[in-house]
Symmetry: C2
Subunit: 358 residues, 2 copies
């Protein structure tokens, strides 16, 4: 009684920290005058507790501000009801809808999402993933930054369900959800060719990144199918740094010795597309209309002039599919790893339909 009063008094201090030990089920039991297990039953909504006892326990719970300690629960039960998501950058407009979609599916399954950004650093990916494993997440959704995921073998053997998304895992078998990057890129480039372009530049990310490699492959395939040769200087797989993209674009637009200038660009992802749009909108570039098809949709693409034609992926759809694959495993499926391919969609808005000029 005296104890309770003091407790309430110190709680009123509001911002004061480390004020008191957290009440446990034992404390609740003592206050309600019941056994420990009875409190556990009430907290977990188990049957077999009389209404009167239940009421007394609930009163004690609110009076003490008790909250079950999930660490102890996890230790006992073995499952955490949480899943981990590791991706490149939480703040990337491509990945944030993916992350949100995974969160929604997790929520529907009563699981919490813990996520982290690898910043495209293999070592950081590994650290994050292993930290999540140490916390005993039930499953993992990973957008790989690393090329070797054998470090996950013991974890997967121990029962951590793992799904890769957007890029395939390295040296390991696991569920996988990918956009059809190759076909998407091929169609995008074919679209430019269909509008009369013969000299098309490709600017994209480093081909060691799987998606980037596939898109480059799609570009080459479309050119080859149309019987068009690709000059070395038309391909810039150098990364997404805006300065660099603009420099690469400028070089292709101005032509080099022996190679004619390009009349269109196919861009490997949305960051490149945005940098390209900036370059093409620069005063010195405006005199000539250069066609552009970009991989990945982005907000306001339809409001630019010309509006930007894109090969769109649906990141939320990727995330949803990956999460569903994950919970399928968590529900007990243990058949062969699946590989899900999601189609892309060409959205013609104007920039990809400009005829060649020059």
């Amino acid at each position: 009684m005296a104890d309770t009063a003091r407790s309430a008094g110190s709680r009123a201090a509001g911002h004061r920290r480390h004020a008191e030990r957290r009440p446990t089920m034992k404390d609740v039991a003592a206050r309600a005058g019941v056994g420990l297990k009875t409190v556990s039953r009430v907290v977990n909504g188990e049957a077999g507790v009389s209404t009167d006892t239940e009421r007394r326990v609930n009163e004690a719970i609110t009076a003490l501000g008790f909250r079950r300690n999930d660490s102890a629960r996890v230790l006992r039960k073995g499952s955490t009801s949480s899943v981990g998501l590791v991706l490149e950058d939480l703040a990337d407009p491509f990945y944030s809808p993916l992350s949100r979609a995974v969160e929604e599916v997790a929520r529907a399954h009563g699981a919490l999402l813990i996520n982290g950004s690898s910043a495209e650093d293999p070592e950081r990916e590994r650290e994050l993933v292993l930290a999540l494993c140490a916390r005993r997440v039930d499953g993992l959704v990973i957008v790989p930054a690393s090329g070797d995921h054998r470090y996950l073998e013991p974890e997967m053997a121990a029962g951590v369900a793992t799904v890769f998304v957007d890029r395939p895992p390295g040296r390991i078998e696991a569920d996988l959800v990918l956009s059809d990057n190759f076909t998407g890129a091929r169609e995008g480039v074919a679209h430019l060719i269909a509008h009369g372009h013969r000299r098309i530049g490709f600017i994209g990310d480093q081909p060691r990144i799987h998606t980037a490699g596939e898109r480059l492959r799609g570009y080459r395939a479309a050119m080859a199918e149309a019987g068009l040769a690709v000059a070395d200087s038309w391909v810039a797989p150098g990364g997404t740094d805006p300065q660099r993209v603009r420099a690469d674009a400028a070089r292709m637009l101005d032509g080099t010795e022996g190679t004619e200038p390009v009349t269109a660009f196919f861009s490997g992802n949305n960051r490149v597309t945005v940098a390209l749009v900036r370059e093409l909108a620069a005063p010195v570039r405006r005199e000539r209309a250069v066609a552009l098809v970009g991989f990945d949709d982005f907000e306001l693409a339809d409001l630019l002039s010309p509006a930007v034609t894109v090969v769109a992926q649906d990141p939320a759809d990727l995330g949803r599919n990956a999460a569903e694959l994950l919970f399928r495993r968590l529900d007990g499926a243990d058949d062969e790893p699946r590989r899900v391919s999601r189609p892309t969609r060409l959205i013609a808005r104007g920039s990809g339909e400009l005829p060649p000029s020059l």
Copy 2:
């Protein structure tokens, strides 16, 4: 020996789940032929283990694929080295940099970030926050959706550090990081007035959301300071639904009985701004240039025509400040709750400098 061979064999099955019990420190100890506590010492890098013993233990760890169970660790130590972040929508381009910034600060302090979206639903915010508390996060960063956070009192009393960001908490005292919404909005509207506008429409979110209310207050203050009356029909605090925003804008642009049409808009957030840009870009609207200043910056604002003048907040800066306040508390600070106000920045790009037409 035989055991190990079998274990390796089953692990090779790769995708097979629930294959085997996870090894514990006890298993490692048995295999290395040492005591339990010695394994613990090696795992935690504690002193007092001979190099030879350490090597044996490490071999056993890799052979068994042991990974420390953090649930048990947390249960024993009391601290989780993780912080929670609850915001409105992870995928919102305003919040994702904030989230990322919190993640970076947490990482620098060796903590993991667990985050969730409240979807602007007070009940869901409460559920999420309490789930995080049950997991015994060390601290919380919250973008409130609810107007009453007294449910956090027992948690804060029990030592969960809590920082609110972007919006103030309801009926509770706690650390707080806010943009100076009022001043930002007032300056934005004053900017339009300085460029000759007298009839300015305001479209924003519901004023029960603190930031929205402050921005509306800033709008009214700027108008009042310039001696301009505000017609009821110029203010649409109805929310961010694009259809609705466009309808509100259309009504203000066409004028109503007794009220002249507006010549400029001040928009309450980036979602509204984008919807407005769409409406102003519609073919039927193009004949008349309407000025626009938006609260919140957004990608490509500079590439639209006209480029969009905005009052910019720095969401990453908000997140960083909030996280730093949080870790300050976790490091033991227990002075009065702080209230940090971050300035906004007016970025003139064109749309806000258009003169009144009509």
